[in-house]
Amino acid sequence: MSDTWPLNVDAKSPNDPVFVGIGEIPSGKYPQRTFIGDLTKVAILALKDAGMVPRDVDTILLIPCLHGFTDQADLVFSRMVEELGLAGHAKASFMIHSGGSTSDNAVRAASGLIASGHARTVLVLQCERWGSADVMEMINSLSKNGIPGEWELPTGVQFNAIGGLITQRYMASTGSTPAEMASVCVALRDWAQLNPNAMYRGKKLTVEQVLASRMASDPLHVMECPMLADGAAAFVMTSAENAKKRGLDTTVRVAGSGGCVSHYSIGQENDLAALGWATAAKRAYAQSGWGPKDAQFGEIYDSYAAVTTIAVEGFGICEPGEGARWFAAGNASPGGKFPCNTNGGLLSAGHTGVGGGTALLVEGVRQLLGRAESERQIKNAQRCIIGGSGGSYMDAQVLLLERTGKGGAK
């Protein structure tokens, strides 16, 4: 039996699910901002971007926060319905959660609801307060959750060690050098200089600086590890028919998706230099009918450089084993032939927990809609490859997005 199948909708279907609006606020350390205030802000930004008001939304999907249980409970129990004035009007409000790949799965869920008719317009909301949370509490939370307590917690493993295990294997398999690995972080930092929402805008980075920083978890240097940040993002999806009715000529549709859940425990990943990326991409390409040569750019999960270099190889964007050297040659940087992580990624826009993937997704949609700041906007952005991953890189999720209509950046 084949493990791929076509979508039930295409670009001509009235109920084809499409993105029509995005909203985001800057990532970084913002202790004066509030969780509900930020969520409200990005909700309104995304709706305005779509030419909508809250009453146009029938379903809210919540992307979880990791900074605290109480705020998460507010999301689960529909606080945002009340905050947005949708009490009695909203059909449903619920949470989707698969860690860093949540946004990809939220797109799948929203698409399914819209294509089937269970929803018409879905608002997806995300906010994280990691940057303002107690650092030790967050380290402990990340070291205890999502790691098998019976079998791996006694080893003392934590998130940077997981990044170190993947990076070591990747470097051993490909012969990539420390400088080549560091160049990935530098490429992302270069993009962050062009993104007003990025945590590290205004702070340039060099390969020498990365290599001179202390070892966190060999072979990972401190400056190759993500910085926890506050951040919030939102997007709106509706049916193609509804978008058309509302005069929204330029939208972004999901041409296909593919996924591969390759492990739960880091000690159970069969090949730490492969993860699930290649399998996920193969499935996505089979569904969409287009591949890496048809896309102009990518927005791929990057909490550690190796996670992304493995992905660009698995996606067929570059030759196998050449991901880090491909980045080092400037291919993914501003002005490069296949821009990647044009918002600066998690490593330079800020690691907003589950929101890191959401920010990349929103950036992909923004570029396709032609709404990035002019110096960052990719010319003639028609198709984008989105990559997400959750937990200990337990899964690889690929969304293939394409612009519809004549708008966008020329």
Binding site: M136, I139, N140, S143, K144, P148, E150, W151, E152, L153, P154, T155, G156, V157, Q158, N160, A161, G164, L165, I166, T167, Q168, R169, A172, S173, R214, M215, A216, S217, D218, P219, L220, V222, S265, I266, G267, Q268, E269, N270, L272
Partner: protein
């Protein structure tokens, strides 16, 4: 209460043995141990003492930001080991004489290094060292 599946594995470590779960129905090894065999769904599961020998798939040396309670153990090395039995696990690596791990490389042979009962009780995980050819 520590579930028997965990208690049995840890008792092995305290005795100086690395146990892998073996399905009584299909004979396949499971690691980490499961509540039903992922191969045949049987709930009749037992243990076998592993050869302890395998290949180091990857490793890292944690130097900063350990989980609470591990502060006094820094730096320490973690490794993913693929056992000859065809299953794999995350464990710790025994340092070289200089307290570092410079001699370790991916894909090299390693073997289980039993710790004292006291140590295994405190940190119930498997340790590995270079295999004696």
């Amino acid at each position: 209460m520590t579930p028997p599946i965990v208690a049995d594995f840890r008792a092995g470590l305290i005795r100086g043995e690395l146990l892998v779960q073996k399905c009584n129905s299909c004979g396949k090894f499971n690691m980490y141990p499961r509540y039903a065999c992922p191969h045949c769904q049987s709930e009749s599961l037992g243990w076998q003492k592993a050869s302890g020998k395998g290949v180091l798939h990857s490793f890292t040396i944690l130097r900063l930001g350990p989980p609470e309670g591990f502060e006094n153990e820094l730096p320490y090395a973690l490794g993913v080991v693929k056992l000859d039995e065809g299953v794999q696990l995350l464990g710790r690596l025994v340092p070289d004489a200089d307290g570092e791990w410079k001699s370790y490389k991916c894909d090299e042979r390693v073997e289980f290094a039993p710790m004292s009962a006291e140590h295994a009780e405190k940190r119930p995980c498997a340790w590995f060292k270079h295999a004696k050819t």
